[in-house]
């Protein structure tokens, strides 16, 4: 990467530096946490379908495992760089720590584009990746998961190779496996429900009765759909969702004053995730321009679609009634908008906490695999509720105690937990 260009790892380091300053971390701890604890670079020779051999470059970055085995995805990406992998590994450390699950942060990847590879060749890459690092990953060392362009099938191939090398079964080596092959129930619901659980807790703090509260959600994907469902179960009405319309190549907001019916909308949603505008109108749903979700007279805003959606330009359009923003998506609020919201006293549940339901469920998958006992869905979801609620409370307690913005409280609590674990172990 050329000098001056955007470097995600440098950005992650400077973000850490700011928190370290606040936490007054000592130089040794800083130096330890600024860098990955271990980093593996290796080559994966693969026999291609045409008989030739191609060598792929693989990575695994273990940022920190003071709190438990590293956890993080494996990316297949043609433009993968070690700096991206390092930044994401560090991010995983903070995320696991925020929700207080006993896992560290890791990330891995292979420079490749599955569009150019047959399934057989992809299997070769998966097995080759495991062969190169089999001794440094495992249920009690480092637990990979699916990420960009990798899926449950890849995870199964990797697991199979790991088990073959070690001569034992170890389903806890990897998460994101198919249900019935070591996967956990509740994975589909986990992120959206997680958002709902922390929103419920925040409403308690804000003194708003859930059945009086109104919410507006950007997006109509997995997260958004399950967030609506769980909020509805608390009595909270969601007055709008927005979604991209493939046919019109634009997005629309679907609004209904007395609350949208998510199942009704799903029944008129095509495989692109686009809601049929005409049928929606026939159901009495208002079809508004895509950005109208932000103007709604509601108590809760949940951006659960893309990055950089709440910006300096549109933050002023947010109604005075809005008291709570829960970041269902990653990085939906720009720093400029964030400071406006902070000033206005809007309660913010940052992404690292709000959407941590997914990683928490991965942790549950690992736990279930390690004990070789799988829970029913209700049990998974109730444990998720408990975990998210206690994580929220811990962050909120800190924010109250130190009078911190929730976002800052999240970062501080997560870095502090990791730093303390390192110190307790006598590393620094």
């Amino acid at each position: 990467m050329s000098a001056g260009a955007f470097n995600p790892f440098q950005m992650a380091q400077s973000q850490f530096d700011r928190i370290a300053d606040v936490l007054k971390l000592d130089a040794g701890t800083r130096e330890l946490l600024r860098w990955p604890l271990r980093e593996y670079h290796f080559l994966i020779p693969v026999r291609m379908d045409d008989g030739s051999h191609k060598v792929f470059r693989g990575f695994r970055c273990q940022h920190n495992d003071a709190r438990g085995p590293c956890k993080g995805g494996i990316r297949f990406h043609p433009h993968e760089t070690i700096d991206t992998v390092r930044a994401l590994a560090m991010w995983m450390t903070w995320k696991c720590s925020t929700v207080d699950i006993p896992l560290g942060g890791g990330k891995g990847g292979v420079i490749c584009d599955p569009h150019h590879l047959s399934a057989f060749e992809q299997q070769g890459i998966c097995r080759g990746w495991v062969r190169q690092i089999a001794r440094n990953v495992g249920p009690v060392q480092d637990v990979p998961a699916p990420d960009v362009m990798t899926n449950p099938q890849h995870m199964l191939w990797m697991l199979d190779e790991w088990e073959a090398i070690h001569g034992e079964k170890g389903p806890g080596f990897i998460t994101g496996k198919p249900v019935g092959m070591g996967g956990s129930l509740g994975r589909t619901e986990a992120t959206g429900y997680g958002v709902g659980y922390v929103v419920r807790e925040a409403l308690k703090i804000l003194g708003i009765a859930p059945d009086k509260a109104l919410a507006a959600i950007q997006g109509f994907g997995n997260v958004s759909q399950y967030a609506v469902k769980i909020l509805n179960s608390f009595g909270t009405k969601v007055v709008c969702v927005s979604c991209w319309n493939q046919k019109d190549q634009t997005s629309y907001t679907f609004a209904k004053k007395d609350g949208i019916d998510v199942d009704a909308l799903l029944s008129i949603t095509d495989h692109f995730g686009s809601i049929d505008t005409e049928k929606a109108k026939a159901m009495g749903v208002q079809v508004l321009p895509g950005d109208k979700w932000i103007d709604q007279e509601v108590d809760i805003l949940i951006p659960a679609a893309l990055e950089n959606q709440v910006t300096g330009e549109n933050v002023q359009r947010i109604s005075k009634r809005v008291k709570l923003i829960a970041e269902g998506a990653n990085g939906p609020t720009t720093p400029e908008a964030d400071s406006v919201l902070h000033e206005r006293g809007v309660f913010c549940i940052p992404d690292v906490l709000a959407n941590a339901g997914g990683v928490t469920c991965s942790y549950f998958e690992q736990v279930q695999c390690n004990t070789n006992y799988f829970w029913p869905k209700d049990e998974v979801l109730s444990k998720l509720d408990a975990k998210m609620t206690s994580a929220f409370k811990a962050v909120h307690d800190l924010s109250k105690k130190k009078n911190l913005y929730m976002r800052d409280a999240c970062y501080q609590i997560s870095v502090d937990r990791v730093a303390r674990a390192c110190r307790d172990r006598g590393w620094v």
């Binding site: 379908d49 433009h79 584009d113 599955p114 569009h115 150019h116 590879l117 047959s118 399934a119 057989f120 060749e121 362009m149 899926n151 449950p152 099938q153 198919p178 249900v179 996967g183 994975r187 589909t188 991209w244 493939q246 046919k247 019109d248 190549q249 634009t250 095509d270 495989h271 692109f272």
Partner: protein, 926 residues
Amino acid sequence: MSTVDERPEVPFGNLIAALRERAKELACLYRIEEILVNPDAEPAAVGRAILATIPAGMQHPDLTQVELTLAGETFRTPGLKKAPDRVSADIRIQNMLLGELAVSYAQPMPEADEGPFLADEVRLVRTIADRLALFAHHRRMREHFVELERAQRKLEGKKSGTLRIVLDLLAKTDRGLHHRISHKMLNHLCRIGIPEAEQLLVRADIPRYGEDEALERETNRPRRSQKGRAAVDLAGETFRIASEHLTEEDILGRVERWMQEDKLAFLIRAAERLLPLPDLADAIRRYHEMSTPDTDLPSSVRAGVRVSLIRRFLSDDLAWIRMAKDHVEISDFHTLLSRMIYSAGSHGRIGGKSAGLFLASLLLARAAKEYPELADVRVPATWHVTSDMHTEFLYHNNLEEIAEQKYKDLAQIRSEYPHIVHLCRNSHFPPELAKGLSIALESFGDRPIIVRSSSLLEDRAGTAFSGKYKSLFLANQGSKEERLVALFDAVAEIYASLFGPDPMEYRTQHGLIDFVEEMGILLQEVVGTRVGPYFLPAFAGVAFSRNEFRWSPRIRREDGLIRLVPGLGTRAVDRVGEDYPVMFAPGQPGLRVSVSVEEMLRYSPRFVDVIHLETNTFDTVPFAEVLAGRVDDYPLLPLVASEVRHGQVRPLNLIDTPAPGALLPNFEGLMAERSFAKTMRTMLTVLEKAFGSPVDIEFAHDGRHLHLLQCRTQSSAEDYGPSPIPRDLPPERVIFTARRFVSNGRVPDLTHIVYVDPDRYAELPTADRLKAVGRAVGQLNKLLPPRGFILLGPGRWGSRGDIKLGVPVNYSDISHAAMLVEIARRRGQFTPDLSFGTHFFQDLVEAKIRYLPLYPDDPDVRFNEEFLRGAPSVLMDLLPASEPLSATLRVIDVRAAANGRILRVLLNADLDEAIAFLADPEIRED
């Protein structure tokens, strides 16, 4: 419409008279039969008896006079008078004229059915003539038989003299053949340099090439006649000379071979002379019945006949003939004829689409010996209506003036076209066409059929009229009458499409407007099976032997491309908007366009084109709806669909079949199975090799067999070399760069940019405004310098789906552009459905309009929106009325906006890079 012979009603009073006439006729025939039953009867006695018998069969026996010529002798009623009206019939056997029978009245008589004769009398005369022909034939056969026995007796115990006997026999039995063989022998003797033979040639007044001055110099002066020379016994002399110089075995061997060749002479003559198709068909049938294997013929004769037949039936395009002549055998035409519809005077061909399919089917059948995977590939039952039936249809309905439609202004053609469609649909079918279609329909039963255009120009190399003429599906359900009416309507509609504005525009563009275009028709059984009320194939699609759409650098052009859909293949051929055929390269069956679950879910076909057997319609229905309650009925479902379970796409679980909504038609099973890819690849390779150029085919699978539906040469742009990509240009001179799906070539000296702003276009509030953009582009197409402008706009130009997806144009609206750029905003990692394989893209390729998709959101590309939005627009100067569109549609005069520079686009497929930049012009204007 009725083809039944409608006889006038006979009044009851006349009935007795009519019956009496019929009795007379029968009595007469009986008498004739008695005369002819004796084979030993003398010809003179037979003639006299006939003369005496025929009058009794006529209305006016006393006045009847008969004239009979048979076996060289003529018999006349004594005192025969010349009469104005006579009824006559040839006496012939197998095209050989043996004589004539004529009947007349000695004085003028009142008018009856045909002159003074009743229709029954005319028939009587013909019947007697036929009977006489049989009699004469029988006599000749007897004579030959006796001759043969005599010759055999002579040959017994005799070694020499065989030649003499054979030649004598030949001279007596077939004088013409004897004559032709003598000529061949004389030519042979001259060729081997026998001076006596050459002298004989001179004496017989047969010029020999190289000796005749006039022939040698090929002057325009006719040869002088050399009358007055003595008549020569050419045959006798020739064989005398031959016997002096050649051995008897040699001569006999040659004679035998020439006799064999001569057997085919009738076919050669029929093929080369412009006989109407029925006569040619007779010759082919006769040849077929002789059951001579093609391989018994000398190769030059075979080649000659094949070429003639190809020209008559398939194509007169030289390149096509050259390509086909090595693959078609004479016997193949016999098969073709049994499924052809033509009239008595027809001279037409079966048209491009039919010819391509016919040839491909032969190629595959032959290649199956070497490639067993092809053995299972079939071609559905197909009928062909010859191209000139279209002209006959027009003449039959006095519509010939619409043939001049092509010379009218395009706007007029466009405005009059609906009227022409109406005219054709309300026309009557010529009886022979109606009858032919009825027979074809009978053979199809009530299975659905597709009626397709197969014009003379269609599917010729370099001029694929893809999609400009119609193809119509018929459910073919109901009574025969209803089905026939529907078939007539479809044929009429296809006939009308010859005069549609799009084909006219295309022909003008390609200098084909003066070509006498005719429309053949292909009737084909639809490949498929019944699933509930629907009729559809398990899957269908289109395949290209050359892949011009490579989503991975690992895919080579020769790996080919297949576009697959469940149901009818129309959705693979057409651009259907928001639905996606599954694409894969048969040479790289492991590579997928869609890799992640999200991609697979979004970019798979979700709708299916079907024939609804209950409503008798062609419908588009969701895949899930076809399967609702019928998951077990859908053929080859595990190859067609995967199941989506717990967010994963997995092979179908046959024990626990999921709900139809969870089935995703991504063809993973079919692709993973490999045998399909192998069959398709072999098929494409075999066809490409034989056609001598890349091909594209349409196919369908009914669950039992793979069927080939169409085959033609794949029209591809000229393969320019890769252009070097300049690296040191200042950024402000670069208008855009691309790094995906780049082909090789360059587009120099573009003076104008037509830019449809993607954001503004998306904001247009009404469908009318969106359509207005398409119309304005069509007008600009006529105003801007041809091949001097580039079109840049959002989404898919010319999409037949939702108009928000892309500017609504058809080919005639963009035909003068040099390059078409589709701007696609990236969504996730997916590859958008490009126009490849769709009718529109073929037009671009044919017209050498370069195509490039642009992904402005990709890393490392430049998209100079400042220039495109900021440079002055001359739209209002060109189209003053287009003010409301001025923010959306911009026309940049590049030279004016860039100090005399033009826009140049360089493309390099090897680097997968393209660049458009402002450059100094290469072409100097006068």
